[in-house]
């Protein structure tokens, strides 16, 4: 410090260097990227950061947006949920970004929600989640339960004739809410309580022998049994290993997972998993030309020809294009104007369909069920005939089925159709 004061020229030089930078910054539109680059979630979220950087890069090559270049502002919330809120505030208040792409776990989204609503920011959230939420300031480009969990159950019920169900999850908000919805749905479909077994294990659970033996016993009652897995993170690896070890094949008791995709499988030996199922809105193995082009661009950008693509990456692709289209339509990056322009916009997804943004801030998505192949990719065995509109508030939960989200006519994310009341923002 003292040396700086002795040489005022250093200050001048610093100022001279900073000025063109400042002038340049005025000509760019800032795009915030809020994904963990360290900690437990880094494995999944780093890929999404790179996806946004690639999309920004491509948009700039096309000449930018509204005649300006896009500039990505990357921050690292380090898989630390309170830090997510802090970094969000930094992006919105200090960096004044026009839009933020970010978050993975539901708990991180719940953590930043109050910040986005207070500062009137705009967040694109790319991961499948438990629903029961619709914020004015968040666009949910991942699947709601009716775009992933419910169709998967329908497939197992109709095509595989499953009669007995094990709902196996990690102990936190997403599996608990999803399983509550699924249990209500199964009971509505006439499945008896004794044919449903629900169990939760902690994050990072490794000793699966007793649980897998229990599943085996539950499945030996003479009725076709399936496991709906909302197990998250690295607990999946010992779980599937133990299934293989106890000789439970996908032909006897299939496991359909909602959190296991190409990225997760690329880290382990997929052979014991062959035939187990996953439900997503996108698979890398899809043959659509748009997907082929996207994979090529991704490999060129990341410079690793073996890297996989996955469902949340497609969600960011859809979200980014929606935002670009809305900004072009509004001729402004002002959050209010963009939010007004967004509902009803349509952009192509990567599997040859159209993603349309609905008034409840969710998008329409096709649903695919894939079987794991030995190379860690998926063979699609079933898909919905068209796209499914995302439903923020599940129709199968008491207290939730009367609630509607509509940011166009009702201007409310939590409108009770019975009491005709809007409870305002929904975060807890």
């Amino acid at each position: 410090m003292s040396s700086m004061q002795r040489f005022p020229t250093v200050w001048l030089l610093a100022a001279a260097l900073a000025c063109p930078g400042a002038a340049l910054a005025q000509d760019t539109i800032k795009v915030g990227v809020l994904h963990s680059l360290s900690g437990t979630m880094a494995i999944s979220e780093t890929t999404l950061k790179d996806t946004v950087l690639m999309l920004v890069d491509q948009q700039n090559k096309k000449g930018g947006l509204l005649g300006k270049k896009l500039e990505a502002v990357v921050v690292d919330p380090a898989s630390n949920w309170p830090l997510f809120a802090e970094k969000a505030r930094q992006l919105l208040e200090k960096d004044k970004v026009a839009v933020v792409f970010g978050c993975w776990t539901s708990v991180s989204r719940k953590s930043v929600l109050p910040v986005f609503e207070k500062d009137n920011g705009l967040l694109f959230y790319p991961v499948q989640y438990e629903g029961e939420e619709s914020s004015k300031n968040v666009i949910y480009t991942g699947a709601a339960p009716n775009q992933q969990a419910i169709p998967a159950v329908d497939y197992l019920m109709k095509d595989v004739a499953v009669k007995r169900w094990v709902l196996e999850g990690t102990d936190y908000v997403y599996p608990r809410t999803t399983n509550k919805i699924l249990e209500a749905y199964l009971k509505a479909k006439g499945v008896k309580a004794e044919d449903i077994s629900i169990n939760y294990t902690p994050f990072g659970y490794a000793d699966w022998q007793a649980r897998v033996a229990a599943i085996k016993r539950f499945g030996s009652a003479g009725k076709k049994t399936a496991v709906i897995s909302t197990i998250n993170g690295d607990a999946n690896v010992p779980f599937y290993k133990e299934l293989g070890n106890q000789r439970i094949s996908a032909e006897d008791i299939p496991v359909v997972a909602f959190s296991v995709g190409e990225e997760e499988l690329s880290g382990l030996d997929a052979k014991p998993l062959v035939g187990h199922l996953a439900a997503w809105n996108y698979f890398m193995s899809d043959k659509a030309p748009a997907n082929k082009a996207f994979i090529d661009q991704w490999h060129a950008f990341i410079k690793k020809p073996k890297r996989t693509t996955n469902d949340p990456m497609e969600a960011h692709y859809i979200g980014f294009n929606l935002w670009v289209k809305a900004v072009e339509k509004a001729r402004s990056t002002d959050v209010e104007k963009v939010l007004a322009a967004l509902p009803g916009l349509e952009v192509p997804n990567l599997t040859g369909g159209i993603a349309k943004l609905l008034p409840n801030h969710h998008v329409t998505k096709p649903v695919y069920i894939g079987e794991v192949r030995a190379d860690g990719q998926f063979d699609v065995v079933w898909k919905t005939s068209g796209t499914v509109p995302g439903d923020a508030w599940s129709d199968y939960l008491p207290g939730s089925k009367e609630i509607e989200a509509d940011w166009v006519t009702l201007k409310c994310g939590n409108y009770n159709t019975k009491t005709k009341m809007c409870s305002g923002q929904s975060y807890k």
Partner: protein, 516 residues
């Protein structure tokens, strides 16, 4: 017909497979098993179907076999070949079809597996095959398995005496298929009647179901005990190293978990070094992990811990710092992501004891391994010069020094021994948990619990304590759930320590007096 396989949907493929196998010609078997094992491919250039010898994707070029004549058909590059995919339904069907051909296989084990496969989806056609095989089958085990199939079929016979005989024969089998089939006989149907018209037969079936259920419940308890012992032996394995560093030396080593992690990473490195001999690498990893973790322990003792003897709080903080350093070290060396350690073939799979009880081989190996490690440690402590020195120093340091024992050297060796055993525990852990930088953290609390519970300074206490904690945990888990079971064990332990502060096997005599 084969050419269509390339473009066909799963349903069409199934139809093609059915048509191919309808003729019962055994020459179709290689084709079916190739399709089952992902070894059936289409050559892009001319859309012809071939079998490849290996489904290994890492090979650039693959040898082709003609699916009809089974003669070699040259080789082709990987890029020109497309695998013909299968789904669960198709694979299940293929397995059943292949099993029919395997009924006449010269190997009795293959025939047994084939019969078991056929029993899973019994129909009139396969029953006929079983019946004709039964007449010529020389092997008693295979014949007994076929009898089950016959028995199941006789349950549908019109003669109630035949049905009774079938039930009597089936009572001895414990497999869930038989149990469910018998239970279905006595279950009232939707219209209030029964699937089985004869009252007498129904009573016999109900009796048989009860008998089977009793046996299954018994084997269920046996299975839980086995699980408990296997969980317990893991606890013993992770705690026994600590029983030496903490129990004998009194050092609170918070880096004990990280020494296990080093052992697990050593296993991973050994597998990387010899990718084609996974089965051998795991055996070599045991001494390697002992050396790596043991050397780390000796360095740790010589550079940090020896300056802190008699100051438990500082030792705790310093070793906690060391644990963070070691974690960051593997993060920098191997990245923060988990590494996948393969389980060798001889350690995977299950031993099917009977229809109700199967025991996983890897758990059996761990139990045996723990007992071996424990026995060796006991011999080292009781029967070697080093063991004598260790015991002498721990009982009366000043006297040992006066007798000419280099106590500093003994301290380093003792700590090295405890750390090396932690490394060996890491090899075992790598077989069923994720190998990552945080591996040690999840086991450090458990290991301290076991040592304190068993009685500080007593190896037998660690063994009994670890095994009993494992069994209690497994008995509780089905009722309480994974999280609550752990809490209950912890609470029970706290209450126990309140009442008996010195654990299960308290040390007695002068040594114990001098420590307090």
């Amino acid at each position: 017909m084969l050419g269509e396989l390339g473009e066909a949907s799963f349903v069409e493929k199934e139809a093609i497979v059915e048509r191919l196998s309808a003729r019962g010609d055994p020459s179709i078997r290689p084709l079916l098993s190739a399709l089952l094992e992902d070894r059936l491919i289409v050559r892009q250039s001319d859309q012809r179907v071939f079998i490849v010898k290996s489904a290994d994707d890492s090979l650039a070029s693959l040898e082709l076999i003609d699916p009809v004549s089974l003669a070699g058909a040259g080789s082709a590059s990987r890029d020109d070949l497309t695998r013909i995919g299968t789904n669960n339904r198709l694979r299940k069907r293929l397995r059943a079809l292949v099993a029919r051909f395997d009924l006449s296989n010269p190997d009795a084990a293959v025939r047994l597996a084939a019969v078991q496969e056929i029993l899973r989806s019994l129909d009139a056609e396969s029953l006929e095959l079983l019946r004709s095989r039964s007449a010529v089958e020389p092997n008693a085990g295979v014949k007994a398995e076929i009898e089950i199939g016959m028995g199941l079929a006789s349950l549908d016979s019109g003669d109630s005496r035949a049905r009774l005989a079938a039930i009597a024969a089936l009572t001895r089998t414990l497999s869930p298929q038989v149990r469910n089939r018998l239970a279905a006989l006595v279950e009232p149907t939707a219209d209030g009647g029964f699937a089985e018209p004869d009252e007498l037969v129904r009573q016999a079936a109900a009796r048989a179901v009860r008998a089977i259920d009793r046996w299954r419940a018994f084997y269920g308890v046996v299975e839980t005990l086995f699980f408990g012992l296997s969980v317990g032996s893991v606890l013993v394995l992770v705690a026994v190293g600590l029983a030496i560093t903490f129990g004998v030396m009194g050092v609170i080593n918070m880096a004990h978990g990280e020494l296990m992690m080093l052992g697990a990473y050593t296993t991973y490195v050994m597998q990387l070094a010899m990718p084609n001999h996974i089965g051998v690498s795991i055996l070599l990893a045991v001494p390697a992990a002992f050396l790596v973790a043991g050397a780390t322990g000796v360095i740790l003792e010589r550079t940090i811990i020896r300056f802190l003897y008699g100051r438990p709080l500082e030792t705790l903080l310093a070793t906690f710092g060391v644990s963070l350093v070691l974690q960051q070290l593997v993060r920098s060396l191997f990245s923060a992501n988990n590494r996948s350690v393969e389980t060798p073939a001889w350690m995977s799979g299950t031993l099917q004891m009977n229809g109700a009880l199967s025991i996983t081989v890897n758990r059996l190996c761990i139990i045996a391994f723990t007992l071996v490690v424990f026995a060796i440690l006991l011999i080292v402590l009781k029967r070697t010069r080093l063991g004598l020195d260790i015991r002498a120093v721990s009982q009366n340091r000043a006297m040992a020094q006066a007798m000419g024992i280099r106590t500093g050297w003994v301290d380093a060796m003792t700590f090295g021994l405890g750390s090396g055993i932690a490394g060996i525990a890491g090899v075992a852990l790598s077989q069923f948990t994720n190998v990552g930088p945080n591996l040690g953290q999840s086991y450090i609390i458990d290991s301290f619990m076991v040592v304190v519970f068993g009685g500080v300074g007593n190896l037998w206490g660690t063994l009994v304590g670890g095994l009993s904690m494992g069994v209690v945990h497994q008995l509780l888990e089905p009722y309480a759930g994974a999280v609550l079971a752990k809490i209950l064990v912890l609470v029970a332990l706290i209450v126990f320590i309140q009442r008996w502060p010195r654990g299960l096997f308290p040390q007695t005599g002068r040594a114990a007096e001098s420590q307090t």
